[in-house]
Amino acid sequence: MSAVEVQEAQIAHDLHKVVARDVNVYYGEAHALKHVDLDIGSNEVTSLIGPSGCGKSTFLRCLNRMNDVIEGCRVTGQITLDGEDIYDKSLDVVQLRARVGMVFQKPNPFPKSVYDNIAYGPRIHGIGAGKSEMDEIVESSLSRAGLWEEVKDRLEKPGTGLSGGQQQRLCIARAIAVNPEVILMDEPCSALDPIATAKIEELIDELRQNFTIVIVTHSMQQAARVSQKTAFFHLGTLVEWGDTQELFTNPRDERTQGYITGRFG
């Protein structure tokens, strides 16, 4: 690394929450993600777009090391969170995931009560020892996810009994209950109807105040509506990234142009 590069990297770390440099992911022999460099800013929504199989979800799962669970998956390169290498051997993946929460494509509430769904994360991390403290965490998480008014009378009912949109907001509330710094969302609205989608998008915009959000989406309209930065992936490479406004109105790469105008993907 030259002195200039070191300096640039330092600046990137100072300015950004998450910095990825030369990230490669292999599933067995397949090279799924190639040489990705991406900076993710604090208290911003960054959306990852691109056609199916382009590696955007793979990249997202690198950020909280969910790829560790997948057999035969190998990650090289460097990803830092607040300047700390998350693939460092000394780093505890449990603590990383407490700092980087995740919401999945399909709502996946645990088959427990609404209350226990929210309380699960705080409990395993030893937050909220007393009953009243836990009640407070549950209420505030649900209110921040915009779900409190709808479920406050049915906290003891199973979380799986809620509607699809409510379940997804429950999962968001569950993720923010451990008070993470970054929230990853993997196509959080793809299983929801338009009204539930609108609610989640509104929620994402509010959550930006307190959290750094990375969202994978298939919908370019959604990316344009909710995000400040957008990154376009194609065939495992990061083609370009920048301000959402800029990327959608004035793409530099013709592949980006082709995708956002609907010529492929």
Binding site: N64, M66, V69, E71, V93, V94, Q95, L96, R97, A98, G101, M102, F104, K106, N108, P109, F110, P111, K112, Y120, G121, I124, H125, T160, C171, R174, A175, V178
Partner: protein, 460 residues
């Protein structure tokens, strides 16, 4: 021999019918099979089934009815004073005549009148056989001809064949259900006879089991007692021991296989565990009696405990080993059915693997696991061979696992083994025990299947 030949002829004629039907269908369409409503093969099947099915029904009915009629004819030909004698003696005589006619061993002197009756009977049977052959073949040909004449371009042979096929399926399942009902009713009937001799409450709540009935009033050991509580208690004790072995071992191996083991190890370990289910129970039985029971007795002696050489512990432990695969295999399946998204959800919150398993996967799979355990319990309750060989025969009412106990199944075996009169309370008690056992395992199975089904509805 004659019957086998007849069956062969029927089959050959049916095949010919199929072939002719197919050909007729094609020629009815003027050689262009596409004009037909149904494929030519359906027309062929239609002819074949219309020929074969009525013929088979007649065949079976004839085989059932013919001997009855022949016997009636035989009795009506006997002299009047023979007919009016004691029914049991008459039955013996008729049996002898039949034996003579069929060339079997006869239990009395053969005289001319007996020989004549036997010849008469044989000729009736011979005529019946001939009549049957003619009638069955005629019906077969008539059915084939009727179906063959119906073949036309618009004939809906496919619908007909489908209907007949579904009818055959219904018949098959009806046979299975009727057999079950038959078993239940025979149990109920014999149990009813038992309760005529022994009061219901004495059987269900009596604490003394000594199944014998006195032949004389002053006989030694005439004290028969049919209190089944010691048997229920013994069964319960052994089942509890078996569950204490099978549930922890089975559940842990299921967790290991579904959550920790790699696919290759799993592909190897799961069938290996299931081999346990394939070991014949009699092998488990002598393993229990010859290896495990002496081992427990000797270790017990070393510790200063009195362990009898036939103990509930040995039988229960070996039975527990036997039902491990029921618990592990089914639990493994239900834990695998827990969606990956739930695991991801827990991992993403920072849960470790064991936290995820304990707090998310096992609770989510719990109904299925409970179902698996209940199925294993019902298997353990009904298990016979191991307890016959290892648990002993003494009907002790005890909760001490080091003593010999006996179970419901063991007693059923001992009650029915050997020379028995089938109208004494002793043998009839076996049916009452069988009914209790049947009701228990049925209830457990119903509960288990419902629990499993409820769980399935949640995730599929």
């Amino acid at each position: 021999m004659n019957l086998i030949l007849l069956c062969l002829i029927m089959v050959v004629l049916t095949v010919i019918g199929y072939w002719l039907g197919q050909r007729q269908a094609v020629s009815a369409a003027g050689g262009d099979a596409r004009r037909l409503h149904s494929l030519p093969s359906y027309h062929g099947f239609y002819v074949a089934l219309c020929a074969l099915l009525p013929a088979i029904v007649l065949f079976v009915l004839w085989l059932i009815v013919e001997p009855i009629i022949a016997e009636q004819v035989l009795i009506s030909r006997l002299p009047a004073e023979v007919q009016s004698q004691d029914p049991n003696a008459l039955r013996l005589l008729v049996g002898d005549i039949k034996s003579l006619a069929l060339g079997n061993i006869v239990s009395r002197e053969i005289d001319a009148s007996l020989q004549a009756a036997a010849d008469g009977y044989a000729s009736v049977r011979g005529a019946g056989r001939l009549g049957m052959t003619v009638a069955v073949l005629a019906l077969l040909l008539a059915g084939a001809a009727w179906a063959w004449r119906r073949i036309s371009v618009d004939h809906r042979a496919r619908n007909g064949v489908e209907m007949i096929a579904s009818g055959i399926m219904i018949l098959a399942s009806t046979i299975a259900i009727l057999t079950t009902l038959g078993i239940i009713f025979s149990l109920l009937f014999e149990t009813g006879r038992f309760f005529e001799k022994v009061p219901f409450f004495e059987f269900l709540f009596g604490t003394k089991w000594s199944p014998q009935t006195a032949l004389r009033a002053d006989q030694v050991g005439a004290s028969g007692a049919f209190g089944a509580i010691p048997l229920f208690a013994g069964t319960l004790l052994i089942t509890v021991i078996a569950i204490c072995v099978a549930v922890p071992v089975g559940l842990c191996s299921a967790i290991y296989m579904s959550e920790y083991a790699g696919p290759r190890l799993r592909a190897l370990a799961k069938p290996a565990l299931e081999i346990l289910a394939g070991v014949p129970t009699v092998v488990y039985g002598f393993f229990a009696a010859l290896t495990v029971a002496p081992f427990f007795r000797n270790s017990g002696e070393a510790l200063g405990l009195t362990v009898s050489s036939e103990s509930a512990l040995a039988a229960g432990v070996v039975m527990g080993i036997m039902i491990i695969p029921f618990v592990s295999s089914l639990s493994d399946d239900v834990m695998n059915a827990v969606p990956q998204t739930l695991r991801d959800g827990a991992y993403a919150l920072g849960a470790t693997k064991s936290e995820t398993i304990r707090q998310v996967i096992v609770p989510a799979a719990l109904p299925g696991i409970v179902g698996a355990v209940l199925l294993a319990v019902s298997r353990a309750i009904g298990e016979t061979m191991i307890v016959v060989m290892a648990a002993g025969l003494a009907a002790n009412l005890t909760a001490n696992p080091f003593e010999a106990v006996t179970t419901v199944t063991v007693q059923i075996v001992t009650l029915l083994v050997g020379d028995q009169e089938f109208d004494s309370a002793k043998t009839l008690a076996a049916f009452a025990l069988g009914l209790v056992l049947f009701a228990t395992t049925l209830a457990l199975n119903v509960v288990a299947l419902n629990v499993v089904r409820k769980y399935r509805e949640k995730y599929d």
